[in-house]
C-alpha cells in the first residue's frame, strides 16, 4: 500500500512536470493553443462539476431518502437535469467551438511556408507563393531547409502541409493544434506565436518505423531576425576546397542531398546547405554537433531505426570525420 501510494504520488509529479516546457499544450505560446487550452479548462471544470453532481445524486438515491419526493419532482428532475440541461450545455459548447474555427483559420498576414512530412523528416521551404488547395501538391521553389522552422512572433504564418509518401501530422503543441499532412492534398495551418522561444514539434500520425523520431523545432523570432534568417538560408553554402567536400561528393551524398554552391543537388534527403545553422540533426533527434553528425553518417539506422538514409560505416573513420567537420562548418 505504502509503496503504491508513493509511486502514484511520484507519477502525478512526473505528469505535472510535463505541463511546462517546449512541447506541451499546457504551456500555450500561440493563439490557437491558448484558445484550445481555455476550452480544455472550461470542459474539465464543467465535467468535474457535473460528475460530482451526478455522483452526489446517486449517493442520495441509494443512501438517502428519495422516496419522500413525489413522482412529479422526479420527473421534473429528469426533464430539466437529464434533457434540458445537457442540451443547453452541449449547444453552448458547440457554438463556442464552431465560432472559434473560422476565426483561427482566417487568412494569414505573415510568411507562407511549405512543409512536407516525409519519412521521417520535415522538408521546409520559405517564401513560397502558397495557394492552399488550388494545387494538389505543395508549391515548388522557395528557400529550402529542413526540420527547423522559423516564424515571426505575433504574425499569422501560414504553414502549407503536404506529403509525398504517407499521411503525417504536424503538431507543435505549444503553438497550435495538429494538422494532417496528406499526399495529394494541401492543408493549411496558421501558427500565430505570442512568445519568442524554441518549441518542439512532432509527427502525430503513425507513418512508419521511425515515426516516433520524426520531430522538429520551431524557432519563434522577431520579424527582423526572421527576415535575416531567411535571407541567410537563401545564400549558397560557404564552401572552400576542403577534403570534406570532395569526400561528400565522391561518396555519392550529393545524389540525395543538396549543398547549394556545390555540384551536390540531390533532392531525396534534407538540404544541407546550412545544416550547421540548425539546432538538431535527423529531425530533432540529436543536438547539432560534429560528433553526432559523424555518428549519424556512420550508422543512421542505429540512431534512427527505419531511417531512409544508407549507413556509411564502411568509410574509414577519418573520412567520416572530415565530412562531418565540413558539414559542421556549413552555417
Amino acid at each position: 500500500m505504502r509503496r503504491g501510494q508513493a509511486s502514484s504520488i511520484f507519477s502525478v509529479i512526473a505528469l505535472l512536470s510535463s505541463c511546462t516546457g517546449p512541447q506541451t499544450a499546457f504551456d500555450a505560446a500561440g493563439v490557437e493553443a491558448q484558445r484550445v487550452l481555455a476550452l480544455f479548462w472550461v470542459l474539465l471544470t464543467g465535467a468535474v462539476a457535473i460528475w460530482l453532481l451526478v455522483i452526489g445524486l446517486s449517493y442520495y438515491a441509494t443512501k438517502g431518502d428519495p422516496a419522500k419526493h413525489s413522482e412529479k419532482t422526479g420527473l421534473r428532475l429528469i426533464i430539466w437535469g437529464g434533457c434540458v440541461f445537457p442540451t443547453v450545455v452541449l449547444a453552448a459548447l458547440l457554438f463556442w467551438g464552431l465560432k472559434m474555427m473560422p476565426e483561427l483559420r482566417r487568412p494569414a498576414d505573415g510568411p507562407t511556408i511549405a512543409v512536407a512530412g516525409e519519412r521521417f523528416w520535415w522538408r521546409v521551404a520559405y517564401d513560397v507563393d502558397g495557394d492552399p488547395g488550388a494545387v494538389r501538391n505543395l508549391p515548388q521553389g522557395g528557400v529550402p531547409s529542413a526540420n527547423e522552422i522559423w516564424i515571426p512572433v505575433n504574425k499569422r504564418s501560414e504553414i502549407l502541409l503536404g506529403s509525398p509518401d504517407v499521411i503525417h501530422s504536424f503538431w507543435v503543441p505549444s503553438l497550435a493544434g495538429k494538422m494532417d499532412a496528406i499526399p495529394g492534398r494541401v492543408n493549411r495551418l496558421i501558427l500565430e506565436p505570442t512568445e519568442l522561444g524554441i518549441f518542439n514539434g512532432a509527427c502525430a500520425e503513425f507513418c512508419g518505423t521511425a515515426h516516433a523520431q520524426m520531430g522538429l523545432r520551431v524557432v519563434v523570432a522577431s520579424e527582423e531576425d526572421f527576415a535575416r534568417y531567411v535571407r541567410a538560408q537563401a545564400e549558397p553554402a560557404a564552401v572552400d576546397e576542403s577534403v570534406g567536400l570532395s569526400l561528400f561528393l565522391q561518396n555519392g551524398c550529393g545524389g540525395c542531398h543538396s549543398v547549394r554552391g556545390t555540384p551536390a543537388d540531390g533532392d531525396v534527403g534534407p538540404d544541407l546547405t546550412h545544416v550547421a545553422s540548425r539546432r538538431t540533426i535527423a529531425a530533432g533527434l540529436l543536438p547539432m554537433t560534429e560528433e553526432n553528425l559523424a555518428a549519424f553518417i556512420a550508422a543512421p539506422d542505429h540512431l534512427k531505426p527505419g531511417v531512409e538514409m544508407p549507413a556509411f560505416g564502411v568509410l574509414p573513420d577519418a573520412e567520416i570525420e572530415q565530412i562531418s567537420e565540413w558539414l559542421g562548418s556549413l552555417e
Binding site: 434533457c83 452541449l90 458547440l94 457554438f95 464552431l98 492552399p132 488550388a134 493549411r188
Partner: protein, 125 residues
Amino acid sequence: MQIFGKTQDNLWTLIAAPTIWAFHFLFCYFLAAYQCAPNADPFTRIGGTRLAIGVVTVVCLVLIGLIVRRSWREWRVDGGGTRNNQDTPEARERFLEFSTLLLAGLSFTAVIFETMPVLLIGDCR
C-alpha cells in the same frame, strides 16, 4: 382526443424520426464534402450549400415536428403514463408511443445541432 385512432404505432413509426435525422446527417455531410473536399478555395463563401442545407433542415424539422405532435397525441389518448411493463396491448402501445415521442425529440435536437455549423461558418475553412 383521438384523431388517428389507436394501434397504429409500430416499429416503422418508431424509427421514422431517427431515419429523418440520419438522412439529414448524410445530406449535410455529403453536400459539405462535395463542396469543400476539392479544397480549391477555402475562403469562397458557400451560400448555395448553406441555403440548401437550410431548406432541407426546415423540411426535416417540420416532418419531425409532425411526428412529435402525432406521438404526443396518441400517447395522451389514455392519459400518457410511462408504465409499460405489463403484458397487454395497451402497455405495448404506450411503450411505442412514448418511445416515438422521445426519439422524435432527440432527433429534433440533433438536426438543429447538425445545422449549427452552417449558421456559424460561411466557407470551407
